[in-house]
Amino acid sequence: MDFLLAPFQYEYMQRAFVAALVVGTLCSTIGTYVVLRKLSFIGDGIAHASFAGIVVAYLRGIDYYAGAIVVAVLTALGIGFVNRRGKVSLDTAIGVLFTGAFALGVFLMSRAPRYNVDLSSFLFGNILGVSRGDLVLILGLAAVVTVSLAFLYRALLYTSFDPVVAEASGINAAFVDYALLVLLALTIIISLEAVGIVLVAALLVTPAATAFQVTRRFTTMLWLSATIGAVCAVVGLYASYYLQAASGATIVLLATIAFFIAMAIGRSRRRSASGSR
């Protein structure tokens, strides 16, 4: 019992656990659509692009989150627009926009008179540094994203599977696509402090890809992915506490191990299924 409760004697650890649980669950829930729509690249894309927002916010002396949110949402909408109007694939649109925005961030930072601020916490995350205000923002935005996902549930599912027929039947596929991109941008922003720019993509992709290995039902995949994300985040944080390792990396490593276990289970199941026929 002590082993489980020990970390909670520190208030910053309590906040870290809440943040990890929320971020792990949310990323892996929306990640189900990321994996099924083959958008694995997007987490990386929007997270890197938000770096430009963080730099601008730093130079202007405004809140980092404000800068990151504005740039991430604009990048998400830009990716959707270029994809729809520019006759390029979504992957290419992401590639063009995120490198552009990231380069802008580096450019601005290199011209800054002095940049001794520690931006590494945005690259690799610093979940132990989540303040009370950060936590309120994380919980607030997570609530917005969760409610939106619930409202869009069927439209997201139909357009993920068969966008053309969904659109013909009267579902506004363009709206659904843009909405998903904006919700992704918000999810990525609130995950930055927990796992950082470099590792957020893993939280979006790995739990959902893990669930995909072992189920052929969409609802099962959704719940399983959310559970795997939540468990990896909380267990990963515990592990990092006792191993004195970086929390974001520990969480992602745990999810990666889960993926390979699920892959082995999925393979052996398929083998025994085909063997019995």
Binding site: Y158, G170, I171
Partner: protein
């Protein structure tokens, strides 16, 4: 009989290629209109434009008197020729058919008894009962086609658009599809369908149009087939095919 679809002076261009050139067509409720024409004649484009998926370059398409995109969700059901879906998507036959109900459901609304009945009905009428829990990747081509037609029927649309639903299916499937479509037409549903199968045209359709970027002939299936309008373009396409190779 009320008019379901009115296409007038419709022109569709892709970049510089003219896919459809001043098309005029009308479809009344309770009628099945067949569209025949060679490959690349713009048949699929015509269906997509009526479905609201392609924006006309000129002219108008009206479905029940308004532009297709302004209809209430669930009004048009469209079954494409080739389903470009990811077959590894986690969905069973029943899941796919249930999607037909999605456009008309409000957000957060529960799947009602009526929704479930419509899905069961569509599954039964396409003889998919034994396959309802099977994953979509484990279906044959004909079974996949039937699942997508079932989804369109579960939608209970006001207009049904079918793009070559009989291509690549066996005779039994063709016959059951025909019976289902004729039943829907008898109940008042307007149906627009493209096909390559001329032999059964008069059993499928009330009217037949020969389209090769333009409407070359339109009318009673027997009359149109006997007019030689289709034979003419077939010859034409054949000669073209030779010239290219």
């Amino acid at each position: 009989m009320s008019v379901a679809v009115t296409v007038s002076e419709l022109v569709v261009r892709y970049d510089r290629v003219v896919a459809l050139d001043r098309i005029d067509l009308e479809l009344a409720s309770g009628m099945a209109l067949g569209i025949v024409g060679p490959n690349g004649s713009g048949k699929s484009t015509l269906l997509k434009t009526i479905a609201g998926l392609v924006v006309p370059s000129a002219g108008t398409v009206e479905v029940f008197g308004v532009a297709p995109r302004t209809l209430a969700p669930g009004s048009i059901a469209y079954v494409p020729q080739v389903e470009a879906v990811d077959w590894s998507f986690p969905a069973s036959v029943a899941d796919v058919v249930a999607m037909g109900r999605y456009p008309r459901l409000r957000p957060l609304a529960r799947f009602s008894k009526a929704d479930r009945a419509a899905v069961d009905n569509a599954i039964e009428s396409l003889h998919l009962g034994d396959l309802r829990n099977r994953h979509i990747s484990q279906l044959s081509g004909g079974q996949q086609q039937r699942a997508f037609v079932a989804r369109a029927i579960a939608q209970e649309p006001k207009l049904l658009l079918l793009d070559e639903p009989t291509t690549g299916v066996d005779a039994r499937t063709e016959e059951s599809l025909r019976e289902i479509v004729r039943g829907l037409v008898a109940s008042g549903l307007p149906v627009l369908m493209t096909t390559h199968d001329l032999d059964r045209a008069s059993e499928w359709f009330d009217r037949l149009a020969v389209v090769d970027r333009r409407v070359l002939a339109e009318g009673d299936p027997e009359t149109v087939l006997n007019s030689g309008a289709y034979a003419g373009i077939r010859e034409h396409a054949h000669v073209h095919g030779h010239a290219r190779s």
